[in-house]
Amino acid sequence: MVNDYRIQGDTGEWEVVIGLEVHAQVVSNAKLFSGAATAFGAEPNTQVSLVDAAMPGMLPVPNRECIRQAVRTGMAIDAKINRWSRFDRKNYFYADLPQGYQISQLYHPLVGEGAVTVLLDEKDEGSARTIGVERIHVEQDAGKLMHDQHPTMSYVDLNRSGVALMEIVSRPDMRSPGEAGAYLRKLRAILRYVGSCDGNMEEGSMRADVNVSVRRVGGPGEKEAELGTRTETKNVNSVRFVMAVIEHEARRQVELIEEGGAVAQETRLFDPDKGVTRTLRSKEDAHDYRYFPDPDLLPLELEDEFLAACRASLPELPDAKRKRYEGLGITAYNAAVLTADVESANYFDNLLDGLQRPEFAPDAANWVISELFGMLNRTGRDISKSPISVRQAAELLSLIADGTISKTIAKQVSELMLDENSGHFGDDPTRIVETRGLKQTSDTGQIDARIDEILAANTDKVAQYKAGKEALFGFFVGQTMKAMAGKANPAVLNERLRAKLAA
């Protein structure tokens, strides 16, 4: 198990307890309570309705699509969907918050308890850990302040104001940076499978508040009730940073306690340049948000029909897909890699469909992971922009499967397809094989002739082989294949070579 993350302090070992609040922007073409658009990167204040700017007398109207996406997300983590939920106002003043309150759900969230299962080791089902999700509620995002537009004033961009967010609140179930990272990656994968959030952390459409506390190993605090005082580090926007926050916070807290101090319950900010967290506000400075039910909105009541449609629209989720792939003989590791992201999984599913040879699935998985992913990585391309289309990949793999080309030749062909200067960039593999004459041959006359040449040129090695140095067989195979420019059918070549050496 990887679950033995410990902080080695001066006075003993410490365990770290982690909970994450993930804010995920809902994929929808309109905001949570207004018809305004939600495009990322638009000119400031161009995606703003009268409601988002909180003009006098403007009222919120819930956007059904945002609710639907949050419900589907809840269903994807097996959570309880609350048929009756309600919106509350969280009141505070800030220049990026036009209404002077954020519409959120404190008392009656849309989604109740669920869980996310993560593998700490992708090769080992035994490393599975279940991370509890306490709730998912929907809420409005705030706008953005711009401090670099004017020497003495700050500007406000309300494009993001009112955009729908899901706040996914985990239980304090994680015990290491690795677990937190695995949870975040898995959650991101699920959101992207469901299509409720694009999971783009760089653009801020997914960010996490990281709650960290520490307690002594073997101390009285093995139960949840006995957690240490936690800090909350706000708005961390990558998996790597989340893990860095945990490492830093855990060490900082242990040192603080061992020096005789106490952890203050406070809100902190992460400085990615220095890799440290610092105090944003202490508990004493915490806002009194004066939550109360939003009187502009009626409670949200979900009907059976709506829920059934949400459920019916769910795709096959990562865990189910992984199990299906393993059932096709794909290794646990490969299945985990292929299902880690919805784009790769979709590519692979479409490839299997095109290939129509389930028995060839493990080879296809190998090719996708070692050849395609390897090349995409080298060329810095995303799977969605792969120069080898699903159809072409299926064609290439069919050529291997029916013995037209060898895996070695296949590798050459894919390289040609991916190389913008090869003259074959984006060409169909069949065409490349034909124009370059790469077809594999099983012509025994041709193969025999080459074998004879190789054996004649290496009489000393033939003697050694016959004297018992059987490892030289590979040498003869390699030399013959080289002489045939890799086009010999390996099975035929092996068979003929063995026969000749035995003669």
């Binding site: 003009m55 009222l59 109207v61 209404q99 002077g100 309150y101 502009d296």
Partner: protein, 492 residues
């Protein structure tokens, strides 16, 4: 009052349609009355050109036989309604000069129905007040004077005081009001006119500056019950831009008017007989019962046991919602901005200190307090529970009766300054009006008679949810029998 400005909307409508006068003549007469009536301080903005444009459109429509329900009718619009391109301030300095780029649903419906707008009507700041003295534009003066030898300026009530004064003085044929805890009914009673607050959700709140969202409701104020029915029919209706708006067809209230109350029972709540109410108000109440009996209704005594808690409950819920609704007036995007010490908190503090009046500040502070950690359950949660009990009182009462009759207010109009230093005394003005607001029920004030000083007194009818027709019909029966034709003598 010229002949035209003394007419009811129904009479203006028929006179205009039959060609007795043009819409332009009507608008011109009203524009002149508005200009001549500035001593009443009923308008915050006068828009004679808008009234004339609508009148010309109405005259053209009459020629082309394309008349709309309110063609030729000039109205005043309470300043709480956003009116496109026309100052909308909610009676507050914090919105002084604010011209919305949008039109409230209700005022838009009136416009679309052909009505003209004479101007925006003065009101208590953010509709918080019962005497119009909290307005940043100064108090509205009632056209009525006491017959006591003095010359005290009287309040028209509030918060829709400008609406009440304008209609009573013939400065508008009718007006929009809003009612959160009596803001249509109490001023209607003080000014000797009719006003109805429909069922919560009948009229869209979209574009009306929010005071307390769960209570705010628009309604008409006019000289007669029929006029109220005519206006309400246009103002009401589902609006998908307001989540709390009711998705129901609008009944034809005007054609449904009938003062025959045979077979109906009128509930007389014993809890509404309270200490300190002038005997003439109790006497008028008794008279009202007799009028309704005469119209065929059977009086039954009912009990609304939680009435005594209504006012405190209201003064928790309404300020709580207001404290949050008014957070948007922060000096950042529109309205007044005072930079203060330059920091963000300083900007907020200076802007709101300068922009809000004392009563608004009081209610924002009360609301903030009752929502605060540690007080929320004791105040807000408990108030919500009591509100539920008050609603249940009415539900149970309506098992025994079809509508309820009470006085509208515990006194006639009082002099400006009389209660402005005593908030509690001021809040007591709405003691009879607030329970129906908390329950979201339709309720109406209709003039019943005059007190010893010859000031108007109103009777108050509360109906079942969605039964505006029942309320209007009972009010009509009283109107026919009370014979209230008194008008304030012109002194302005």
């Amino acid at each position: 009052m010229s002949d035209l400005t003394s007419k009811a909307i129904a009479d203006l409508r028929s006179g205009f349609r039959s060609g007795d006068f043009s819409a332009r003549e009507v608008a011109t007469a009203y524009n002149a009355a508005v200009a001549a009536g500035r001593a009443l301080n009923a308008f915050t903005v006068e828009t004679p050109e808008i009234a004339l444009a609508a009148a010309d459109a109405a005259d053209a429509a009459r020629t082309s036989d394309d008349l709309k329900p309110l063609s030729g009718i000039p109205l005043g619009i309470k300043d709480l309604f956003a009116t496109e391109g026309v100052d909308t301030t909610a009676g507050s300095n914090i919105l002084k000069g604010f011209k919305p780029p949008y039109e409230s649903t209700v005022s838009g419906k009136l416009k679309a129905a052909g009505a003209g707008m004479l101007g925006k009507l003065n009101m208590d700041e953010f509709a918080m007040g019962s005497s119009n003295e909290t307005s940043a534009f100064g108090p509205v003066i009632s056209p009525w004077k006491r017959r006591d030898g003095g010359n005290a300026a009287l309040t028209p009530g509030g918060s829709s005081g400008g609406s009440a004064s304008a209609v009573a003085a013939g400065l508008a044929a009718g007006a929009t009001g809003t009612d959160t805890g009596g803001s249509i009914r109490q001023p209607a009673a003080f000014a000797g006119i009719c006003g109805i607050k429909p069922t919560y959700g009948r009229c869209s709140r979209w574009g009306i500056v929010s005071f307390a969202s769960s209570l705010d409701q628009a309604g008409p104020m006019a000289k007669t019950v029929r006029d109220c029915a005519i206006l309400l029919e246009v103002m009401a209706g589902f609006d998908k831009k307001d989540s709390t708006s009711l998705d129901l067809p609008v009944p034809q209230w005007e054609s449904g008017l009938s003062s025959d109350l045979k077979g109906q029972r009128v509930g007389i709540p014993r809890e509404y007989r309270i200490e300190g109410v002038p005997v003439e108000i109790d006497a008028l109440w008794d008279k009202g019962v007799e009028w309704l009996r005469d119209a065929g209704a059977e009086p039954v005594e009912i009990s609304l046991p939680h009435t005594v808690h209504a006012l405190p409950t209201y003064y928790i819920i309404a300020p709580a919602e207001a404290s949050s609704n008014l957070a948007r007036y922060d000096g950042i995007r529109y309205g007044l901005r005072e930079l203060g010490d330059g920091g963000l908190d300083g900007l907020y503090a200076s802007t709101r200190a300068a922009g809000f009046g004392a009563e608004v500040k009081r209610r924002v502070m009360i609301g903030t307090y009752v929502l605060s950690a540690g007080f929320y359950d004791a105040y807000f949660t408990k108030a919500q529970k009591v509100r539920t009990l008050i609603k249940r009182d009415f539900t149970q009462a309506f098992d025994r009766c079809d509508f309820i009759l009470t006085p509208t207010a515990p006194s006639a109009a009082f002099a400006l300054g009389d209660k402005s230093s005593d908030p509690i005394a001021m809040y007591l003005n709405d003691v009879f009006a607030v329970p129906a607001s908390l329950a979201g029920l339709p309720a109406m004030s209709v003039p019943g008679g005059l007190d010893a000083h010859r000031l108007p007194l109103g009777l108050h009818l509360i109906g079942r949810e969605l039964d505006e027709q029942g309320v209007l019909n009972a009010a009509l029966a009283i109107e026919e029998r009370a014979g209230f034709t008194h008008r304030a003598e012109k002194w302005w």
